[in-house]
């Protein structure tokens, strides 16, 4: 890109905040009442952290892979890519993550989740809370109303944050490979929200930086 230093975030923005949030509103309306089911699945997945059954890791990984697939197809590919051609390529991140979750979590059974009393455990739990409980409230708090609420398992940002939190709760070394796609998505989405002037940017960007620090701290132990 010639003269790359002259570009700012807003040079890459293709749509207005109103168009973006109406996209979420129309998606919410189209999939209703799927939101109740996905939130229920999210809470059930969080509850499984307390369950030490041998199939726990496979089930959590399978649920995450299923929800990522659904969000990638129903929102990113079918709706978001219409106003943002870059989203077509970003769908690839979802495909990679789903394959990694299926391979490491479901096929090999290499992921086992457990809450721990350290920085990574606290951060993981905070991210789960943010994804499932706080994110749906952000739209009404920002004055955009409930119809534009971003719900886990329905739109990307909360759906991506939850697995980052869960992956911090994996027993043993942090699964770095599984964190790459969510972190990249959060970086791109955070930059988009910053360019849109959206207050959610100030939640998403730190929410993806904190876990990296927490995972690194756990990795050093």
């Amino acid at each position: 890109m010639p003269e790359w230093w002259t570009y700012t975030l807003s040079d890459f923005l293709l749509f207005s905040p109103r168009t973006y949030y109406r996209l979420i509103e129309r998606h919410n309306a189209a999939v209703w009442p799927w939101q109740i089911m996905t939130l229920g699945l999210g809470l059930a997945t969080a509850g499984l952290l307390l369950h030490r059954a041998p199939w726990q890791g496979r089930l959590v990984s399978g649920v995450l892979a299923a929800l990522w697939s659904w969000v990638a197809w129903s929102f990113v590919w079918r709706r978001y890519a219409v106003i943002n051609w870059a989203a077509t390529y970003l769908t690839g991140l979802y495909v990679v993550e789903v394959l990694l979750l299926l391979w490491a979590g479901v096929v090999r059974g290499a992921l086992s989740f457990r809450w721990s009393r350290d920085a990574a455990g606290a951060t993981g739990l905070a991210l789960l809370l943010l994804s499932l409980g706080v994110y749906p409230l952000l739209a009404p708090l920002a004055g955009r109303g409930w119809r534009q609420s971003e719900i886990f398992g329905v739109v990307p940002d909360p759906t991506v944050l939850a697995p980052v939190g869960l992956l911090l709760l994996v027993e043993g070394a942090p699964p770095w490979r599984l964190l790459i796609a969510p972190v990249l998505w959060c970086a791109v989405s955070g930059a988009t929200l910053l360019a849109l002037g959206s207050p959610e940017a100030w939640i998403l960007v730190p929410a993806v930086l904190l876990p990296l620090g927490a995972a690194a701290a756990r990795g050093r132990r």
Partner: protein
């Protein structure tokens, strides 16, 4: 009595005429053909990228309806602008394909071989038989695209050919192309604060007989938001500018090398306001200097 009646009749006849003269868009010729274009057009970056949202598409169609009603002609888009081309095509269909449309689009792909297919896809999205103007977007692979566009022009498949840049990028290359290739249009960024093109590109356009389209007249709205914190100077009325947007637009289109400025908007009130800036009185050089100096101080 007869004299009074004659004066009243004359006033009735003259009033609408002078009102029309004040609201009819000022036009400038495309140097390579002499065809005249209104000095204010319609950009579509961000504002028309609304996907398949029916409510927002209605609003875009309303903006286009008001634009043509006010005498507008030039609509500019690009395959880079997401769904904007589709939304324009939808709007044109609803308006019954306005005959005054001057369709300006771009080729935007790093692959020279991919240019013709992209242009055809764009034409299909716009639902027009052919484009009036095709430009190489931001000089991307211009060495490959420009010969193709010139060949299309020779075959009558497009009427005019041009290049674009924005925000002052690659001006030296733009000048080289303007000086050496038979292009009809150049699209650049120009406004009361981004005035680098006044030094070389605008004079070169006049020398070479190249029409000039102006993008980012309001710096994507940032310039308006900045100046609107201050009171519109009282002397704006001398050139018929009733708002900051009109003052900024009148500054741009009063440059003799400028053919058409293409502000983007999604609001009917704004498109009407913009179009009316392209009518009536324009600032003379002394007033242009006053506008630039005033905005620089804000």
């Amino acid at each position: 009595m007869i004299r009074a009646m004659a004066m009243a009749a004359a006033a009735a006849l003259l009033r609408p005429l002078s009102a029309r003269a004040l609201t009819a868009p000022v036009t400038r010729p495309i140097p390579s053909s002499g065809e005249r274009l209104p000095v204010v057009g319609l950009g579509t970056w961000i504002t028309f990228n609304v996907g398949d949202d029916p409510e927002l598409r209605d609003e875009c169609a309303a903006v286009m309806r008001a634009f043509f009603r006010e005498g507008g002609r030039v609509i500019d888009s690009s395959p880079m602008y997401g769904s904007s081309q589709e939304v324009i095509g939808d709007g044109l269909g609803r308006l019954g394909r306005p005959p005054d449309l001057f369709s300006a689009d771009k080729v935007w792909t790093s692959s020279g071989a991919g240019g013709p297919a992209q242009i055809e896809e764009s034409r299909s999205s716009w639902r027009v038989p052919r484009f009036d103007l095709l430009q190489v977007h931001n000089l991307l692979a211009w060495e490959e695209h420009l010969p193709d566009l010139l060949a299309m022009k020779a075959e009558g498949r497009v009427r005019y050919v041009g290049i674009t840049t924005s925000e002052g990028r690659r001006h030296r290359e733009v000048e080289e192309i303007m000086a050496s290739r038979p292009i009809d249009f150049v699209q650049i960024t120009y406004n009361a604060v981004d005035r680098a093109v006044e030094r070389r590109i605008l004079p070169l356009a006049r020398d070479r007989g190249i029409a000039v389209l102006v993008n980012r007249p309001f710096r994507q709205g940032a310039l308006i938001r900045h100046v609107e914190r201050h009171r519109l100077p009282s002397w704006s009325g001398e050139i018929g500018a009733a708002s900051w947007a009109q003052l900024l637009l009148k500054f741009i289109v009063s440059h003799p090398a400028v053919t058409c400025a293409i502000p983007a908007t999604a609001k009917v009130a704004h498109v009407v306001e913009n179009m009316r800036a392209g009518a009536g009185v324009f600032p003379e050089p002394a007033m242009r200097r006053r506008i630039a100096a005033h905005i620089e101080r804000l």
